[in-house]
Symmetry: C2
Subunit: 293 residues, 2 copies
């Protein structure tokens, strides 16, 4: 079967490491291979588990230290069960899938700040692993030590709106949106939202349940009928779930020489491929689900 060559590489890199085969001499690891010590636990209160009808689970890693006010709202809404029986109500081709309360009538949960301060960009965060070239949207970009894609203009830094990023929908400035309505880019990356919208997380499992939803041709991609919506059964913080049901995830840390070598490999792939460079949203940021003991 004919397949784009590079997808072989992409697949190999996206797959969790398998146990060593019982061969006499296992292949030597590449400098870009993840090492066991690179995996770090994502705290339970930074994992948001959204269950859609039909047992489709979407897991979001929350950007707690980048958008503390909005993430506080998200946690409050999850604890209150606010999203239960809400829906994915907007799926616009090559743009976003968006979920929350399609009716706009549901009061926010007690304790939710209706209009938090903007958390669009920030000082004091650094690009731990830089890509070798500037991109169209920033003077430098790369990754924080804990695996978030980030860009900077030399003064401020911001999380980038990649495919699968979770952003806070809003009407217009200065209304920043509470975090009750969330969206994720499902096509070309949405870097033009950088510095203009709050990023609260990124999807680390189940993206296919949002990206493959039927598109709406109605204005803004908002489903014209209730029947088109995908029902949300519940949204919970992992830390609020019974221990036995609580998913555990780890992320590949990026502040190590193996990840640096991985960036180099993606910027300059082995011949016969011609390397043309790497944009920050193209870099796979691995996470893995770990067994609950």
């Amino acid at each position: 079967m004919l397949i784009p060559l590079l997808s072989l590489l992409a697949f190999a890199q996206a797959t969790p490491p398998t146990p060593a085969a019982p061969a006499a001499t296992p292949p030597a690891p590449l400098p870009s291979d993840v090492a066991e010590q690179d995996w770090r636990a994502i705290p339970d209160n930074e994992l948001l588990v959204m269950t859609l009808t039909g047992n489709r689970t979407v897991v979001i890693r929350l950007a707690a230290r980048f958008a503390p006010e909005h993430v506080a709202n998200v946690r409050t809404l999850a604890k209150a069960g606010w999203w239960d029986a809400s829906s994915v109500y907007r799926v616009q081709e090559n743009w976003v899938a968006q979920w929350g309360d399609a009716t706009e009538k549901k009061p926010l949960a007690p304790g939710v700040v209706k209009i938090p301060a903007a958390e669009y960009e920030f000082a004091g965060f650094t690009v731990a692993q830089r890509l070798s070239k500037a991109d169209s949207h920033s003077t430098a970009s790369g990754f924080t030590a804990d695996g978030w894609p980030i860009a900077t203009d030399g003064k401020m830094a911001w999380l980038t709106h990649c495919y699968g990023t979770v952003g806070v929908a809003r009407d217009s400035a200065p209304d920043t949106g509470s975090g009750s309505e969330l969206f994720t880019p499902i096509g070309q990356s949405a870097r033009r939202l950088d510095r203009n919208y709050t990023v609260v997380g990124r999807i680390i499992e189940g993206m296919k349940y949002l990206s493959a939803l039927p598109r709406s041709d109605a204005a803004m991609g908002v489903y014209a009928t209730e029947a088109e919506r995908s029902g949300i059964v519940s949204v919970r913080l992992a830390s609020d779930m019974p221990v036995a049901e609580r998913p555990k995830f780890e992320y590949r840390s990026t502040d190590n020489e193996r990840f640096a070598a991985y960036i180099k490999l993606r910027e300059n792939p082995a011949a016969p491929m011609i390397g043309s460079g790497l944009e920050v949203c193209e870099m796979p940021l691995a996470t893995r689900r770990v067994p609950v003991k």
Copy 2:
């Protein structure tokens, strides 16, 4: 309903111009607005019409002058009805949808060159409208006069692998692929395929019928069962269709001051938005279906 602000703009720009309202004073056009004379016809033999089961039509604009050998193959295959009763057999999350003959056993149509010369990059093509900044993958990028996204390293130029680009699947060099198996990126743009794969076109209508297909978790995203595949009823060149059924499309030409102003607007959107720049794959490249007379 809360919606990302910029999507309003995106929607307005993607919508064909509506007839002037009967108001006393219609709003003055923006410098970035398309003018009637900017629309140019796409030749009938550069339109490929793929009909999926369920009357889902995908229309591809062929990159005839950039990949003449591969496009010649595509035309031969279409004329022979080679794709009829074939399928979309691979849909890999955040990567590609791919179609053609899943069995690998079907002989190519007479006249098809099995391994055409690589048409990955070329000399002699220019970037008619340049973006103001270099990107991660090139020293300059922008658009040809006839509306194709293009990038260059100063010596060679190549069509970029954006969301919706149609590329030629292949196994490995020096096999360039005949053009019988085609793919399109359905997630983050696939710029790392630039200069390594042949671009034969881009999807100008019906992308949603490929992007919203169920993802496969099997290796490479190839559907594990025949039942998962989406059937292709037929693939035809518009020029081979009966005149009455032949779709007509126009593209927005890019070698004019209005498109230049449009680029500037996307690079530096109006306040309160902060402009962070523009990557070539983020630029909307408008086409429109025109009534058949």
